[in-house]
């Protein structure tokens, strides 16, 4: 069972990380190409606090997410002022910069050799609970004025400004929220895997998350989550194909992008099911 547990746990953590990408890229249309860096910040800060100052896990978790948010502020403030085209570059550069800082501060972070002996504080139930909790927060966010305004600005930034939306502030708020959530994914990862290394958080992970969001359907949080579930278990499913599995994975992704241009789910959300049934009752 450990096998299934480990897949589910790591998939759950990926789902939380992907929520960050979904908010920044899916909801707001800002191309986040360094989201995994926030996972690194959350993971490293919480783990270092736990190791060096014996901070209990809940406090470390809060500190980790807060640190990721702070990092988000650092990148977000200049980024929201930039042209849309540059955001992918800046977030990418930030991701690489974080890795170089982690490699360089070997005294604190263990450098390339990694940070070991992180206590195990995370198990499957906690991850599942966290997925549901974070998902509710993000879903409520999407469903509020913030979410509506984000979608508006993604669709047409100029028109959104004309409707009185303070676009820069909105982008920043969303960016910070996304950083905190992704940072929390990093916390969970650190205290599950008990080991962190900088190389794990490079741009290929951020790219993978983008793929997940787009395969699921850029307009659908449900889609992003289901696609995270499928795409992060798919390689396990394809183990029989050994080295070919990544190729099969890529081909499946290509087919979906080409033949379901709005992703698997388009803009369908699972919440419509009960909204619809509620309407049906009224009628």
């Amino acid at each position: 069972m450990d096998y299934i547990y480990s897949i589910l746990t790591l998939t759950g953590i990926t789902m939380i990380g992907v929520m960050g990408t979904y908010m920044v890229t899916g909801l707001t249309g800002q191309f986040s190409f360094g989201q995994a860096a926030f996972m690194a910040v959350g993971g490293y800060v919480s783990a270092m606090l736990a190791l060096r100052f014996n901070l209990p896990f809940p406090l470390a978790a809060i500190a980790g997410s807060a640190a990721a948010m702070l990092a988000g502020l650092l990148v977000g403030v200049p980024t929201v002022r930039l042209r849309r085209d540059y955001i992918s570059l800046v977030t990418f550069g930030f991701g690489e910069a974080i890795i170089s800082v982690l490699n360089n501060s070997a005294q604190l972070t263990g450098g390339a050799e990694g940070l070991v002996n992180i206590p195990k504080r995370v198990d499957l139930p906690l991850v599942l609970g966290s997925v549901i909790g974070c998902l509710l927060l993000v879903a409520c966010y999407k469903n509020s004025k913030y979410g509506r305004q984000c979608l508006a600005l993604r669709s047409d930034e100029l028109a959104a400004r004309s409707m009185g939306i303070d676009v820069n502030r909105l982008k920043l708020v969303t960016f910070l929220f996304a950083s905190a959530i992704t940072g929390y994914a990093g916390v969970l990862y650190a205290f599950y895997a008990q080991y962190l290394e900088p190389g794990y958080f490079n741009w290929t992970v951020s790219a993978e998350w983008l793929i997940i969001v787009f395969v699921g359907g850029i307009n659908s949080l449900t889609g992003a989550m289901v696609s995270a579930l499928i795409l992060s278990s798919l390689p396990e499913l394809l183990r029989f194909a050994s080295a070919w599995r990544i190729i099969i994975y890529c081909v499946i992704v290509l087919i979906i992008i080409n033949y379901r241009p709005n992703g698997i789910f388009g803009d369908w959300e699972i919440s419509r099911l009960w909204k619809k049934s509620a309407k049906g009752e009224k009628a």
């Binding site: 509506r148 100029l158 028109a159 676009v167």
Partner: protein, 264 residues
């Protein structure tokens, strides 16, 4: 933040003087002035490329004017951000219809009132009662606006799936939700068929009666211009060519001259 639901006749006074804007050597707007008294309906006409839309973009803060002033009820709008200007009561629609894809019809309208919603981040992610109350009220209000423009029952539709005429109406409803003192309409009747145009004229008149806001519109269709405007400004090569009562302007030889080659 709360703008009044109904503009009192004493607000919505828009004064634009000596507006200039050049794009890389091309003087798009060159010392253009106009004014709209509270509750007035003002038309701006002129040949294509005269700089009318640019003038709107300067008023709404899309571009910053090179010189000149824009004053709304005694407050200078120049130098303010686009969203700040909008929240002070300047609503607008676009020549080429810019609705929000990815939001349904109702949400499109709600978005324009969202900047006034007074719940915070925490209330949003936790879906606290304050948020739910505010959103419910906003939705109700939005339905009311949709009702006014005749889009009732289409709340859940995708805006891009609506016929062209309805998209124009939806843009209008969205501008209403901003609770504007002045509303700028950029060629609102473009692309409508004759019966839709007549309907549209009635709609604008109805809305004007109801909200009593100031309206400034750009239009080529003479039917709309003559039916709606209290006052007319003619723009040519970025400058004010003529202004005054619609009938007088219409007979102005200079204006006719400017339009030759434009309309056969």
């Amino acid at each position: 933040m709360n703008a009044p639901d109904q503009a009192t006749p004493s607000s919505g006074h828009l004064e634009v003087t000596g507006l200039c804007k050049a794009f890389g050597g091309v003087q798009a707007v060159n010392g253009f002035s106009f004014d709209a008294k509270p509750g007035e309906i003002v038309g701006i006409i002129g040949p294509n490329g005269a700089g009318k839309t640019t003038a709107f973009n300067l008023v709404t803060g899309v571009y910053t004017p090179d010189s000149g002033s824009v004053v709304l009820d005694g407050v200078a709008l120049g130098g303010q951000r686009q969203d700040e200007i909008a929240r002070q009561g300047v609503g607008r629609t676009f020549q080429n219809i810019r609705l929000f894809k990815g939001l349904n019809v109702l949400e499109n309208v709600m978005t324009a009132s969202d900047p006034y919603a007074d719940y915070n981040f925490l209330a949003a992610v936790l879906s606290l009662p304050a948020k739910r109350r505010s959103d419910r009220q906003a939705a109700e209000k939005a339905r009311e606006y949709l009702d006014l423009v005749g889009l009732r029952g289409l709340e859940d539709d995708r805006p891009e799936a609506l016929p062209y005429g309805l998209q124009r109406k939806l843009e209008l409803a969205r501008a209403l939700a901003l609770r504007p003192k002045v509303i700028l309409l950029d060629e609102p009747a473009a692309g409508l068929n004759p019966s839709e145009v007549r309907e549209f004229i009635d709609l604008v008149k109805r809305l004007h009666e109801r909200f009593n806001f100031t309206i400034v519109f750009i239009e080529h269709r003479m039917e709309v211009v003559m039916n709606l405007s209290h006052k007319l400004f003619v723009m040519s090569f970025g400058k004010l060519l003529a202004s005054g009562a619609p009938e007088a302007v219409r007979r102005n030889p200079e204006v006719i001259e400017a339009y030759i080659g434009e309309e056969e």
